[in-house]
Amino acid sequence: MTIKNGIRGFGLVSAAILAFAATPGLAGDLTIVGWGGATQDGQREAYFKPFAAKEGIKVLEDSWDGGYGVLQSKVNAGNPNWDVVQVESEELVLGCADGIYEKLDWAQIGPKEDFLEESVSDCGIGTLTSGTGLAYDSEKLPDGPKSWVDFWDLKKYPGKRALRKGPKYTLEFALMGDGVPADKVYEVLATPEGVDRAFKKLEELGPNLIWWEAGAQPIQYLASGEVAMSAAYNGRVSNVNAKEGKKFVFVWPGNVVATDSWVILKGSANKEAAQKAIAFMSQPENQAKMPKYVAYGITNKKAAAEVPPELEKNLPTNVDNLKGALPLGVDFWIDNNESLTQRFNAWLATR
C-alpha cells in the first residue's frame, strides 16, 4: 500500500470514527434506568415488558448506583443516552432545581391526589418507597436486637456490625442508637453538637464496625456470618428470605423511609415515549404487581389497596411498619451532604 492510499484509508477510518461518535442514541428505543438487582427484575416484568408490548416500543435497560454528578454530566453533554431514570429523593430535588429534568405532564399520569403526597413533584413521580434499617439473621441471633440502641450493645450482641459507607442513614442511626427519638433526629443533627455526637457514637463501635457500599453486600455479610447485624434495605431482606429460605429479620422501628422517583432527563430524544412509560408505570393496576417481586412500598394509593395483605405487611408503607419510622430528611441532606461527606471521609481516614 502506498503512503497516499494509506492516508486516504486513514481519512476514511477517522471519518467513520467521528460518524460513530456523533451518532445519538437511536430515537425510538426508550432507555429506562433502574438500580439493578431484584427491583429491576420486578420492574422488567411489571412495567417494561408490558409497556413495550402495548406501545410497540423497544425498551432498553441500564442500571446505575446513583450519583447526581452522573446525571448532570449526561445532560450537560447533550443528547443523554438515558431517557427515564429512577432517582433518589435528593437527586430529584437537586435536578429539578438545576433544570436537568423535563417537567412531567401530570394530565397524562392522573390526578395528583391519587398518589402519596411525598411522591408528587414537577419533575418526577415517586415509584417506590424503601426502608433502610437494622437487619440480622434470626437463626444466628434468636433473641435479636430490637432497636438501634441494641445495635450499639456490644456486650449483649458481640460481633461486627456493618453500616452504609457515607454519612446519610449512618448519622441518623447513630443518633437513634444514642437514644434520640426518631422525630428529633434531624433537629439534633442540624446542630454542630448533634453532628459531633453522632460521630462520637460511631467511634464507640471501634474495630467492630465495617462498611458496605452496594445493597447486596450487607446480605452477603449476614449470610456468611461476617457481621452480627447490619443496616440493610428492607427489600433485599425480604427477597433473601423468600428466595433462599433465610430467616433474616428487618427491624421496622428506626428505619429510614425514602422514596425513589422516575424522572425524564432533559434533552431526551424520546420525551413522548418516556412520558407514556412513566404514566404506564404509575397506573394502579401496574404498580400493584410490584410488591410480589420486591417488598418496597408503592406510591399510587389505589394500587396499594389492591396489594394482598400477606405482601402488604412487609412493605415500608404498612401502617404498623411506619410506627417509629423516620422519613428521610431530604432538605437536610440537600444542604449538608457535601460538608458531612467531607467530614465523614476525614473521620474515616483518621480512624
Binding site: 432545581a97 438545576d98 462498611w211 456468611s224 449538608n336 460538608s339 481516614a349 483518621t350
Partner: protein, 394 residues
C-alpha cells in the same frame, strides 16, 4: 528538491496526525479543562452581578444592607438559565451548608412580585452574615480555594492561608495513604514479580507459556469476579483462614479482608502482570552466557547476579515499578471492595466529588494535586535512576 522535501514532511506530518489529534482531543484538552475548572470560580458572579457591586462595600460583619437584599432579588429575578442558577447554588452550598434550601425557597419567593425589597420575611437566614460572606467570597473569577482545600488549607477571614479545622478534611492524609499503599504494592510486586520473571525467562516451551498465562490471568478476569474470589479466599470464614485454622497454625481467624492487608494483597495480585511483563521482556534480551562468564571470572553466583543480572534487568524493574506505582495511585474500586474504612484512596474522594455532588472544581483540584505530586515523584525518580545510567545502551 524543495518540493520533495516538503512532500516528505507533509507525509510524515499526516502520519503522526492521528496520534497527535487523539492526544490533543482525549488528553490535552480534558487536562486544560481540568486545570481551568480547578481555579475558575465564575458561577456566582455570573448570576449575581448587582449583588456583587453592593457586597463590595459591605463590612462582612453587620447585617446585610437593604441595597444588598434588593440587588439579590433583582439578580435572581433576572436569572433565566436554570442550570447556571443550579451551578451557583451548588457553589454557594459547598461553601456554606444550607444554601440549597435557602435558595430554592428564595427563588420561588422572588417569582412572586410582592416579595422584597427585604429578604427577612422569606427566610431569617438572610439576616445572618455567614451566608453573605459566602457570596462575597465567591465573586472573584479566579480562586485558589479548591486547590487549597485539596490539601486541607483555606483562607481565613483576613485572607491568610491556614489549616482547616481538625477533623473537617483529611485529603492530605488520604494523599499520603494513597502513595504509601501504592508504594507498598510496588514493593511487593517487585519482591514477587522479579523472581517470577526470572523463572519465566529461564523456562522454555509449554512451561513458559503456562507461567506467562498464570500471571496474565488477573488481567483477563473481570474486576468483580476477581474481587469476589478475594472475598471467598480472605474472609474470616474463608478458605485461607479455614485452612490455617484446621491445620492449627492459628487459633483465631486472621483479619485478611476489609483492612490494609486485604487491599495490598488484592492490588498486588491485580498489578503483578504490570511488573512481571516488563522485567521478563528485558530478561529475555540479556545474553545467556553473561552469568556463566561472570562465574568463570570468579564471581559467586549470588555476586554474579548482583553485578550482572540485576543491573542489566534494572531497566525492566524500573519501568515495572513506574507502571505499577502509577496505576496503583489511581485505584479506588479494589480498596473500596476489599479495604476497610481506613483504606480509601484519593480516587474515591475524587469520584465522590465528581459523580455524587457534581463539584467538578473540587474534583479537578484534587486531580491537579495528584497529577502534580505524581509528576514530581516521576522527575525525582528519573533523576535518581538516570544517574545510575539505567536505560543505557545494551
Amino acid at each position: 528538491m524543495m518540493a520533495r522535501l516538503w512532500n516528505r514532511r507533509t507525509r510524515a506530518f499526516l502520519l503522526v496526525m492521528p496520534m497527535a489529534l487523539f492526544i490533543a482531543v482525549f488528553f490535552v484538552w480534558p487536562l486544560v479543562i481540568m486545570v481551568k475548572q480547578s481555579v475558575s470560580d465564575t458561577a456566582v458572579l455570573q448570576i449575581l452581578p448587582r449583588t456583587a457591586d453592593e457586597v463590595a462595600g459591605w463590612d462582612r460583619a453587620s447585617p446585610p444592607s437593604e441595597a444588598m437584599q434588593a440587588a439579590l432579588i433583582a439578580d435572581l429575578r433576572a436569572a433565566t438559565d436554570e442550570k447556571a442558577v443550579g451551578d451557583m447554588v451548588r457553589r454557594l452550598n459547598s461553601a456554606q451548608s444550607g444554601f440549597r434550601t435557602l435558595m430554592s425557597k428564595t427563588i420561588s419567593a422572588v417569582a412572586k412580585p410582592e416579595t422584597g425589597p427585604l429578604l427577612a420575611p422569606v427566610d431569617k437566614r438572610w439576616m445572618q452574615p455567614p451566608y453573605w460572606i459566602a457570596i462575597a467570597d465567591a465573586l472573584e473569577p479566579r480562586t485558589d480555594r479548591y486547590l487549597l482545600a485539596a490539601v486541607d488549607l483555606e483562607r481565613d477571614a483576613t485572607g491568610d492561608i491556614t489549616q482547616m479545622p481538625e477533623g473537617s478534611s483529611a485529603n492530605r492524609l488520604i494523599f499520603g495513604r494513597t502513595f504509601w499503599i501504592a508504594g507498598l504494592v510496588t514493593l511487593f510486586c517487585v519482591l514477587i514479580g522479579y523472581p517470577y520473571a526470572l523463572l519465566i525467562a529461564a523456562s522454555t516451551g509449554t512451561t513458559r507459556a503456562i507461567l506467562l498465562a498464570a500471571v496474565l490471568l488477573p488481567l483477563w478476569t473481570s474486576l468483580l469476579v476477581r474481587t469476589a474470589a478475594w472475598f471467598i479466599l480472605l474472609q474470616e470464614q474463608g478458605l485461607i483462614n479455614g485452612f490455617l485454622l484446621s491445620t492449627g497454625v492459628i487459633a483465631s481467624p486472621l483479619a485478611l479482608i476489609f483492612n490494609r492487608t486485604g487491599v495490598v494483597i488484592a492490588m498486588t495480585h491485580v498489578l503483578l502482570p504490570l511488573m512481571v511483563l516488563p522485567i521478563y521482556s528485558v530478561l529475555v534480551t540479556i545474553p545467556t552466557n553473561l552469568m556463566p562468564a561472570a562465574t568463570s571470572l570468579g564471581a559467586h553466583p549470588l555476586r554474579a547476579f548482583v553485578h550482572v543480572m540485576l543491573p542489566l534487568s534494572l531497566r525492566g524493574v524500573v519501568s515495572g515499578m513506574l507502571l505499577v506505582f502509577m496505576t496503583a495511585v489511581g485505584y479506588y474500586i479494589t480498596p473500596a471492595l476489599v479495604g476497610g474504612a481506613g483504606d480509601q484512596m484519593i480516587s474515591a474522594i475524587i469520584a465522590f466529588y465528581s459523580t455524587q455532588t457534581a463539584n467538578w472544581s473540587m474534583a479537578s483540584a484534587l486531580g491537579m494535586v495528584l497529577l502534580a505530586i505524581t509528576l514530581v515523584l516521576y522527575v525525582v525518580y528519573a533523576q535518581l535512576s538516570g544517574r545510575n545510567s539505567i536505560g543505557g545502551r545494551m
